[in-house]
Symmetry: C2
Subunit: 314 residues, 2 copies
């Protein structure tokens, strides 16, 4: 979600053309986390990737890493919260080109992301060239959803001044020198990844977790106002949240999460979740459309942050 969808496909085509002429053509690629098929799929199938970090979920990229057909992609599995810092340190080499998706860009170089943030502030600042896919399928009034801020580096890093889910420490845009920005206009749909529906097993897991919370509430181990939840990603996390929504003994609560999934949106609409923060909206296409349609409703119920904040282990 929030990934560029046009430029990577063109790079993949270019790679195939060059390879057909017998020329070498490969890029190194850092992302915030996993991406869509336009990035990992296209570039892996074109044998166009030299190096990949920190995380991916694409079958063709997995095969490329495991060298099923070609020379292997060098892959390093890094903690998502560390990528921006490793790039700032220079441990991964320089950043030549940042490719990002935006819903708005101003003449002064303010870039407003779409549904994902990841490592965007860091790569935009450090890159020599910033290619912005300006996607008109994403409403420009997404502006205001993001909280964009780069951490200081150790050893004398200060605290992240976020003590509540709705806390804000940064800007609603990434600002870079306009002279290094190149804009590509697109109308590409979200590359949504649907999750499997709740089944008998995940429903039971959800029920067990909800019942545990309720019993801890009754014992007084959890305060009556409840606690912020940190949910994981995937079908089980979705099922757990769904079960919590159905449980009348669990009060409305807040969520710190890595990515905001379909179930979180449902629970906001039903009044069970009051606020959520994450580094991206990882939604099915259906949920993404619903989100954009009701943006006024959702806008003051969530914030999207860089992954070095959303995924910070501190």
């Amino acid at each position: 979600a929030g990934c560029p969808k046009v430029v990577p496909v063109e790079i993949a085509k270019r790679a195939e053309e060059e390879h057909a002429k017998g020329n070498p053509f490969k890029i190194g690629m850092f992302t915030g986390a996993s991406t869509g098929d336009s990035i990992d799929g296209s570039l892996a199938r074109a044998n166009a990737v030299k190096f990949r970090t920190p995380y991916q979920t694409n079958k063709d990229m997995r095969n490329a890493i495991n060298a099923v057909q070609h020379e292997p992609v060098q892959y390093f599995d890094m903690h998502l919260s560390q990528v921006a810092q490793e790039i700032r340190y220079g441990f991964l080499g320089g950043v030549d080109v940042a490719i990002v998706e935006a819903c708005e860009i101003t003449d002064s170089g303010e870039i407003v992301p779409t549904s994902g943030v990841g490592i965007m502030p860091t790569i935009c600042r450090l890159a020599k060239i910033v290619i912005v896919e300006l996607n008109d399928k994403v409403p420009a009034k997404m502006r205001g959803v993001h909280d964009l801020y780069e951490l200081q580096d150790p050893p004398k890093r200060r605290q992240i001044n976020i003590f509540e889910v709705q806390g804000r420490v940064g800007l609603e845009y990434v600002k870079v020198d306009p002279s290094k920005i190149y804009v590509v206009r697109t109308s590409k749909e979200n590359e949504g990844s649907g999750f499997a529906p709740v089944d008998e097993i995940t429903e039971k897991i959800g029920e067990n977790v909800s019942n545990f919370f309720v019993s801890e509430l009754k014992k007084g181990h959890i305060p009556p106002t409840f606690l912020p939840i940190q949910s994981g990603v995937g079908n089980i996390a979705n099922a757990v949240l769904a079960s919590m929504a159905q449980n009348k003994d669990i009060p409305r609560f807040e969520v710190y999460t890595e990515v905001i999934q379909d179930a979180v949106l449902d629970m906001m609409q039903k009044g069970h979740i009051s606020f959520a923060s994450g580094c991206s909206l990882t939604l099915s296409n259906e949920a993404m459309e619903r989100f954009y349609r009701d943006l006024d409703f959702f806008k003051n119920k969530l914030v999207l942050r860089p992954s070095e904040i959303s995924n910070n282990p501190g």
Copy 2:
């Protein structure tokens, strides 16, 4: 280090007397970390322990946990940084009696610890009775070495305002209601645990680590002023620090550590370590005597903190 040495032995004797009469007698025991034989050894041999957390290194206690002779001690292996918070939450039941070692105690209830802190601020505040072993083998001018502060509990905990090794956020004593303090005067020696001397293998490990640091310095990955080190505990940590001291390409540095070991003292005296913070001095008796003898020298080179700070994973 810094553990009480008299009262636990008396409790063990009492347990044996009661057991001889056929009466049940067992205590539950929370500590900051491992203790000396006066605590874990005596009480384990007397079959006087019902419950033990978070960590121990005593052979008799290990046997008691493994139920070699008696009904097993219920043992829970907890992250040292979490003990104080779990006690505050009430998850471990109430605290009836805190037994601590001190080098000074005032009429107003200021208790100055000796060479260990651990969970002392929390247990002294919560206990109904505080038994203080006032040990005259420890100079009262230890006062000023400690930085005593209890963390707030989640979910709205604020940051720990320590951004440099020598940072201070708390008091130099634990203050409790004087009416709940009972003083036992002692002259017991430190129960030092010597470490094995550096041998061929640990020396080589130390050399490899030092050479790695030097190569990272030369590459510019580590700034020329170096970085604070976090050392582990035990023979290898001692050997690594010793090797770093001998390496002329490693500048003077600072140490955040769990416990301050012999090698750190040596390196302070030789000028290789400028400052260290930890939750206890875990020294051989020889080094402990040296420390007390040169307290004026060491006093402005180290600080002892509660383990929820020294061992905080954040």
